[in-house]
């Protein structure tokens, strides 16, 4: 996933003191700077929700790694977002064990209820829908992860409750 920008940005953002402190800690623990790159990207994402071109460039300057190296890593991994995401990212499982138990139907229902397709974000910026491969809870299929919580044995009927619960949990 990359931004649709055709012109690369030269903009930078100021990394916060907290971000810098967390990244410094990583750098102390690794014998080579590159060893910190994935975790540093995660730190940026934790604070900003996603990794923009500007924050990627700032990180590259801060830890002195080539921008191309960092972006090649950022675009490789599933859990690093190079596009903005909603407040809550819904990860329904699309593994085979969930599909054998009706997982595809659950994903379709989610998509209908939120009026978005896989990979899209709702207009109110509340939810992004990104299915993930097997979430490792196959005896409780179908499952979904959202807001660091695993929802098990999901049925169509309890989807509205799950969605409302997540709205409330993140409204605070």
């Amino acid at each position: 996933m990359t931004l649709q920008n055709e012109i690369p940005t030269n903009e930078q953002v100021e990394l916060s003191d907290v971000e810098k402190a967390q990244i410094d800690k990583l750098l102390r623990e690794t014998p080579h700077t590159s060893g910190a790159s994935i975790d540093a990207l995660k730190i940026i994402q934790n604070h900003r929700g996603w990794v923009s071109d500007a924050s990627l460039l700032s990180l590259s300057v801060y830890i002195d790694l080539p921008l191309s190296d960092l972006d090649s890593v950022a675009t490789f991994y599933n859990l690093i977002f190079r596009q903005p995401v909603g407040k809550v990212v819904l990860h329904p499982c699309d593994g085979i064990s969930c599909d054998l138990m009706g997982g595809a139907k659950i994903r379709k229902c989610l998509s209908d209820q939120l009026e978005i397709n896989n990979g899209q974000t709702t207009k109110d910026n509340q939810f992004t829908l990104i299915s993930l491969p097997c979430l490792g809870a196959c005896d409780k299929a179908p499952v979904m992860i959202a807001h660091e919580t695993l929802f098990e044995l999901i049925q169509e009927d309890n989807l509205p409750v799950i969605i409302n619960g997540l709205k409330e949990a993140t409204a605070k």
């Binding site: 890593v73 490789f76 990860h91 085979i96 054998l100 595809a104 397709n117 490792g136 196959c138």
Partner: protein, 442 residues
């Protein structure tokens, strides 16, 4: 090794899992004999521990079944061996249908850490890593707390339990890619690179993380170590019902009455696991086939029920034990749809390093989708068979592509009529359960 305990467990891997919801914490773990294996190991030399592990015939539980003792014996030893040496726990469980490591990580984090420290002591390693799947939030939390408990109680850090042995453990949460489960790809990922596999040789045991000697083993493999040291290799060998030693966490998912995980002796027959433990098929469903060890293993049928879950015995039936987590295909789910789901997954998770995988798997997915949608031609089956051959072992850097085509090649063999029926009637014969994924994925 000394064996003071008379109480030889029959289910070592799950003996620490009790009804107490805090059974994963240090005080609970120690009250049931946790870290006795480590204490035992520290009383003898590293090479003596390695001999015991070799003698136990423990085989890697990640899927390949490589003998652990043999793997470890390639690590350079002695005063002029390079340092730091690394020991890594591969906890990046992402195999479709595999869910055993999550249970071990959440319920017995200390068992894994104890195994890792024993491994470190055995090979005179300096640093351990637990490479854990980023989506396993509870497991990550438990491992983090468990590590802190260890540092607070001198089970990690300098001069562990007064033995003079120093060892530290870091946790790395993966940013998510199936290929990170491949040991050299995992090492690249720890170095902050794209997780492409490396060419071997050099093998990681000699030149792995940052060019230093490195061991990568599965969560469950490490879990066995404290018990082998504690109760001895002879006891461990006696646990298996066939040729392989020890027990294993087996699982079943799909339309069975009681999907779940059970610790059972190696060599337990497949049929026994499905019928006795998983309770057989749900009412109204019949067994059509199953993947014996997760999404990258060849289908087997009911006629293979007597086969023991032993690495070599499953191999003789032209499948693999893999992770030991069985996925059931019932008679109402379309086999083409099942294989399509798996091939799509492997195509998406291919790192893109070599052609049969990067180009072959997406092509296979396109052909399968075409057949599933009722637009297939008979020539597509031949093409799918060719793609399976192109992705065979030896044509690719790592085992992803060969594993990816295992369910496909065996489905073409066992369920060929289903493929042909799709093509002849130009629609899916299982349409009443046909999923509506096209719309969902745009």
């Amino acid at each position: 090794m000394n064996r003071e305990e008379n109480n030889f467990p029959t289910h070592p891997l799950t003996r620490f899992i009790t009804d107490n919801e805090n059974c994963w914490q240090l005080n609970q773990y120690q009250s049931l004999g946790g870290y006795d294996g480590l204490k035992q190991a520290l009383t003898v030399s590293g090479p003596a521990v390695l001999d015991e592990i070799k003698e136990s015939n423990l085989r890697g539980r990640g899927g390949a079944g490589f003998p652990t003792g043999l793997k470890w014996s390639f690590v350079p030893q002695g005063d002029d061996a390079p340092h730091p040496k690394y020991m890594i726990v591969n906890a990046d469980e992402m195999e479709p249908g595999a869910f055993k490591d999550r249970m071990l990580l959440e319920k017995t984090p200390h068992q894994i850490i104890e195994g890792l420290i024993i491994g470190g002591y055995t090979l005179d390693a300096d640093i351990g890593y637990i490479f854990i799947r980023g989506d396993y939030y509870t497991a990550i939390k438990h491992i983090e707390i468990a590590l802190k408990e260890c540092y607070d109680n001198n089970l990690l850090g300098k001069n562990i339990l007064g033995s003079g042995f120093n060892f530290e453990i870091h946790i790395h949460t993966s940013a998510g890619r199936y290929i990170c489960g491949e040991e050299t790809a995992l090492i690249n990922s720890l170095e902050g690179k794209r997780a492409n596999p490396r060419a071997k040789p050099p093998f990681p045991q000699v030149a792995g993380l940052w060019g230093k000697p490195t061991i990568v083993n599965n969560v469950e493999t490490y879990c066995n170590l404290p018990h082998i040291i504690n109760f001895g290799s002879a006891w461990f060998k006696s646990l298996g019902r066939f040729k392989d030693s020890g027990t294993k966490i087996f699982g079943v998912s799909g339309k069975v009455k009681m999907p779940g995980l059970w610790e059972l002796p190696m060599g337990t027959p497949i049929g026994e696991i499905i019928q006795n433990y998983a309770g057989g098929m749900c009412d109204g469903y019949k067994l059509k086939g199953y993947l014996p060890g997760g999404g990258s293993t060849d289908f087997l049928l009911e006629k293979h029920f007597d086969t023991p879950m032993d690495y070599d015995e499953i191999g003789k039936q032209r499948s693999r034990m893999g992770t030991g987590t069985i996925i059931i295909l019932d008679d109402k789910y379309c086999p083409v749809a099942m294989v399509l789901n798996l091939v799509k997954f492997f195509a998406q998770e291919s790192c893109g390093w070599c052609t049969p995988c990067r180009d072959g798997l997406p092509w296979a997915a396109v052909l399968l989708e075409k057949i599933e949608q009722g637009k297939g031609e008979l020539a597509d089956i031949q093409q799918l068979e060719d793609l399976c051959k192109f992705a065979a072992p030896g044509n690719t850097f790592c085992a992803l592509a060969p594993g990816a085509v295992e369910p496909l090649q065996s489905a073409l063999n066992f369920f060929r009529e289903d493929f042909e029926q799709h093509i002849e009637q130009q629609s899916c014969p299982y349409c009443d359960i046909k999923h509506a994924e096209d719309k969902y994925d745009k």
